[in-house]
Amino acid sequence: MQDFLDQVEACVPALRRYARALTRNIDLADDLVQDCLERAISRRGLFRPSGEVRAWLFTILVNLHRNGLRTTRRQGALVAMDAVSEPAMPAPQPGHIALAEMARAIETLPLEQKEAILLVALEGLAYSEAAGILNIPLGTLMSRLGRARSALRLATGNPAEPHLRTVK
């Protein structure tokens, strides 16, 4: 059981990162992670040791987030989220895509595309693992990723010719 808690602990930074990207709000994100951890730990008996703790945690997080959105929509009280502040560290490839633009662009994606692109691009999960977490076939995942990337290119202002935005 200690082993299980260690594995969960190792996933917490990734869960926080993913939740932050999904919600764009530090408090909402950490609440989401806390709910996720509580649920996972209280139901650890349901965890199949054959699977990966990380994928299981992400599945719980994604579902909690969706349920939360559904509730918020029902209550009709969507909270306006502050734009994510620019990180202090400079982008590794400055100028390619303005980070603020990307922050706004990711916000405009439909949830299912956002969930997919963040699992793959941000968390670096294998396609098969991401498809498993989202409970969709691999083909569906690929098409969501394709649509997400097209939308992001449109929203970040270099739809056809990325070289135009390339500086230096």
Binding site: P13, R17, A21, V84, A121, L122, A126, Y127, R153, P162
Partner: protein, 265 residues
């Protein structure tokens, strides 16, 4: 120009293509600047996303997100909720128990049951007495009548049962249920065969409703009725027909004709 499915290009951009297939794509990208530009754009998107959100994963984890702390908290919560559940069970048990033992309070037994029981008890106790069967002898029937009338707060005449072969032995005042006036009068009659009957009278019940009831308990017959003024129970061990005759005489004299005698049974 060879066509590469965009899924495979994306897999290449995401570094998820098997080593063996990469060379093909690289060759393709070298020959197709548009594809290469697209792949580069995707990679920049991923870089941007990581740059935006990686810091969130590098922040120190707040205490409330520590799995061990959560596990401990959940354990405490479980213990607490077990405690509440146990308390609830105990309370429900107490409630059931109290309800069970309080049954007599809630059972809607008609007051006549108590009055008849009291009358039979009093009869059983005092007919067995010889020297102290009564408090005031029947020879002083006028005093007896006014005394008991005052105590019961109602006009109580001594029924004359000479026609039935009974003479008044006397009467006494008895304690009764506080809710039913707190007092009862017992009149005792005796016939030539030394058989005794008693007449147990209380003030009217709060509802003052007329009632009429026969009861039989351990060999004693009881004839009970109630009206707006009094309740009366005639108790004796005579044969039923004789009891009826006596009871009718008592009834007719005590109700002063305000209710017609109904012959039942």
């Amino acid at each position: 120009m060879s066509q590469i499915p965009s899924d495979r290009l994306m897999a290449f951009a995401d570094g998820q293509l098997p080593e063996a297939e990469r060379a093909d794509i690289e060759a393709h990208l070298a020959a197709n600047p548009d594809s290469a530009a697209e792949v580069a754009a995707w990679q920049r998107q991923s870089d941007a996303l990581r740059t935006l959100f990686a810091p969130a994963g590098a922040e120190p984890v707040p205490a409330r997100l520590r799995p061990r702390r959560i596990a401990a908290e959940l354990g405490r919560r479980r213990t607490r909720s077990f405690g509440w559940a146990a308390a609830a069970i105990v309370l429900v048990g107490l409630g059931l128990g109290a309800g069970w033992f309080a049954r007599p309070l809630f059972d809607a037994e008609p007051p006549s049951q108590y009055l008849i029981a009291d009358a039979i008890n009093a009869h059983t106790v005092f007919v067995a007495e010889n020297r102290h069967a009564v408090e005031v002898p029947g020879s002083d029937s006028e005093h007896l009548s006014s005394w008991l009338s005052n105590r019961l707060d109602t006009n109580l005449g001594m029924p004359d049962l000479s026609a039935e072969g009974f003479t008044l032995v006397g009467g006494r005042l008895l304690p009764g249920e506080p809710s039913r006036g707190g007092r009862a009068a017992q009149l005792m009659y005796e016939n030539a065969a030394k058989q005794r009957i008693t007449v147990y009278v209380t003030a009217a019940l709060p509802d003052r409703a007329p009632a009429y009831q026969f009861a039989s308990y351990e060999g004693a017959e009881a004839f009970y009725w109630a009206n707006a003024r009094i309740t009366c129970t005639v108790v004796g061990t005579l044969p039923e027909a004789d009891m009826k005759t006596v009871s009718r005489a008592v009834y007719q004299q005590l109700t002063e004709g305000d209710v017609a005698w109904v012959d039942r049974g």
